[in-house]
Subunit: 220 residues, 2 copies
DNA sequence: GCGGGACCTGCACAAAACCTTCACGAGTCG
DNA sequence: CGACTCGTGAAGGTTTTGTGCAGGTCCCGC
């Protein structure tokens, strides 16, 4: 994960880890290249605007070293940027602001293309927390043996909370992870989705910590 | 499978493996030749444009070592390229972008021409999912003991979904795998075929995941 | 060369599903 | 008892899907 903006970098990293991926981070061009040779990742997430040298240059260099899927993140819907990116070996691109679930989907798609068998075999996509079961791959959720239907955002929110059960996450935290960009301070959007989540999974599942944020109850 | 573009290489490899073939990959001219001597394949899929030295050179070298069927992939509809290819020992060629199923068909045809009895005998091509049975080799599908007729695209779509039951695949995902090239975002083509598939295999077989894509129900 | 049929594509429209926001009352803290 | 934070319900707008259908293409038998 190569991105100089700390909030985004961390949000994406956390999210992917929540999906069972192993992620290493880099914050600039040179760092990206050295991390690449050091850790030999299966896929590279690359922001275009970077200190040192930009994402295109990074892409060129790592592609020269070894073919690897690259997912570019472009700040704006800039056709030129995208074309250059595809020209230097990027396999796919995403324009900011992007939805986390879209990013996760594309990452999965790229990896599946590269090695379906390994991808599915090595990571477990289901999470168990007492009578709550979450399957990230099929995006399904069960509460006490019976399936409940969640909307995309509700599911993402739950996934986010379930990544660290019991830990309190601020609204900004949650928003950044689910929506993919920092924002929405001062709105009640997160609250609304929490409410929906509670009504579907049980009121006590999500604990509110006054003045801080929300946390998922570790057990039922 | 020799191709330097990771996306294409992997897509083709996956697809052929899905049909029961054993596939090894190479990404450049030298790699192709060394893989050839090492793994002794029954057939070679060869892109013309390659780093190192090009597909024609690769073809010349491996044909010198041992006669083997070669299927060339040419980037454009370039007569000269094709003639050169046939001149150096290619048995067939395909111009990009090509349809996956056409590639599979040609691979099968070439192998059949060479007549490897073992070819058909050793590979398993059927998938069972509850009351749904798919035979990739004969391209036939049964639902609850009775056969249903699927069009080529419908079948490919089903095969793609059945490769990872329960997992949600995006439309772009599906399109890339079935049509062999990334594109068609913003059209309802995939939706249309999904609709047809549902009407033939049962409406609940394919689950739509709002905002994400489609998934095959693991069981009935 | 000429229908005819099977198939693919993609649009336009309608229907669902979903997200966001607001206003206000209830709750919490010091 | 203020000041602030949360929960809630509903309205309004947006996005995503389902569907019917009209062109096209391709292939085949005549």
């Amino acid at each position: 994960m190569v991105e100089d903006e700390p909030v985004i970098n961390q949000a994406v990293t956390d999210r992917l880890r929540g999906h069972g991926y192993e992620v290493v981070q880099a914050w600039d061009g040179p760092g990206a290249v050295s991390q690449f040779t050091e850790t030999a990742p299966d896929l590279v997430l690359l922001d275009v605007m970077l200190p040192g040298f930009d994402g295109h240059e990074v892409c060129r260099r790592i592609q020269a070293a070894r073919p690897v899927p690259v997912l570019m993140l472009t700040a704006r819907d800039d056709e030129a940027d995208i074309l250059v990116g595809l020209g230097v070996g990027a396999d796919d691109y995403l324009t900011k602001p992007f939805r986390m679930r879209e990013l996760v989907a594309r990452v999965g798609a790229l990896l599946r293309r590269v090695d379906r068998a390994a991808e599915l075999a090595t990571r477990s996509t289901t999470t168990d927390l007492g009578d709550l079961r979450i399957d990230a791959a099929s995006r399904r959720v069960w509460v006490a043996e019976s399936e409940v239907h969640l909307t995309p955002t509700e599911f993402d929110l739950l996934l986010c909370l379930a990544a660290s059960p019991g830990v309190v996450l601020t609204r900004e935290n949650l928003y950044a992870e689910v929506w993919g960009w920092p924002g929405a301070s001062g709105t009640r959007t997160v609250d609304s989705h929490v409410k929906a989540l509670r009504s579907k999974t049980g009121a006590d599942r999500v604990r509110t910590v006054h003045g801080v944020g929300y946390a998922l109850e570790p057990s039922a």
